[in-house]
């Protein structure tokens, strides 16, 4: 996907929502103001967290690079391999498709699909976004969900290793 296409998609979406407001406003004008008021309230709640997320993203982009992740992913084995797949997935930033070329190269170098599946699953856990999740769902929920997801990611990885071992991939 080209960068420009991605940017425009967001704007098209916003435009569509704007048109939806206009259309609904034509038939039911009384809902527009409460809807905007509610949106403003939601924005006020999100804004401080958005700033924290930006700071965390800068820190992650500063310390972590696909090159570093690749260096550690390729050389690992055994339990460390799962640990690195989990950790690598969690700390990886940016859109998922940015990581496909690196994973493709790792596959060529002999890394198993199970490892790639675990890595991709853990991309769901994003440390910079934790404050937002905590804000909406609380600490307990965030921690439990993260632990369950990490566990499931390794189970998924093992399943893929078996599938690959059986010659189905």
């Amino acid at each position: 996907m080209k960068k420009t296409e991605k940017s425009y998609t967001g704007w098209y979406f916003l435009l569509t929502v704007g048109i939806l407001y206009l259309l609904i406003g034509l038939f039911k004008i009384e809902v527009i103001l409460p809807a905007l008021r509610f949106s403003l309230k939601t924005t006020r709640n999100i804004l401080p967290v958005f700033l924290i997320i930006f700071a965390l993203m800068v820190a992650f982009n500063f310390f972590i690079s696909p090159h570093k992740v690749r260096k550690y992913l390729g050389k690992s084995s055994g339990f460390t391999r799962w640990l690195i797949a989990v950790g690598g997935g969690i700390i990886s930033t940016g859109p998922i498709y940015m990581w496909y070329p690196m994973l493709k190269e790792l596959k060529k170098e002999g890394v198993q699909y199970g490892f790639i599946a675990t890595f991709l699953y853990n991309r769901a856990i994003k440390l910079p976004l934790v404050p937002m999740m905590v804000g909406y769902f609380g600490w307990k929920y965030t921690v439990v969900l993260a632990v369950v997801m990490v566990t499931i990611s390794v189970i998924q990885g093992i399943i893929f290793e078996r599938i690959e071992g059986g010659g189905f991939l």
């Binding site: 916003l14 403003l40 930006f54 800068v58 930033t93 998922i96 496909y100 369950v148």
Partner: protein, 137 residues
Amino acid sequence: MDARLKSALTKSARAMSNSLPVLAGVVLLVGLTHTLTPKLFYFSKNAVLDSIIGSGLGSVLAGNPLTSYVLGGELVKQGVSLVAVTSFLVAWVTVGLVQLPAEAIMLGKKFAILRNIFSFAFSIIVAITTVFILELL
């Protein structure tokens, strides 16, 4: 300024600015939905069915996880079950129907399809397990 820091700042600012119009659209849409429908009707009281619906929605929709948190948080406030919202959040980030063609090209068709099918099924298991553990705590 250090080149690495400058690159990190630019990369982060670009990622955030790219997600801004989507986030603004979602916030406006949430406001509209909240005003028009006090409670979302398509969720039932059945945990398994709700999680399938949540996973289905999360699989089709795509974007920054940030957006899914806003949507999920509002769904909870509107009375949608935590199981459904959790499966929605998990499927949003683990199942990628939009990225499926790219994933298939880069990592193999069989792997991409299987991974997405497994991730869909696991999003339901993750949701039910998470809520079950939370109820125990």
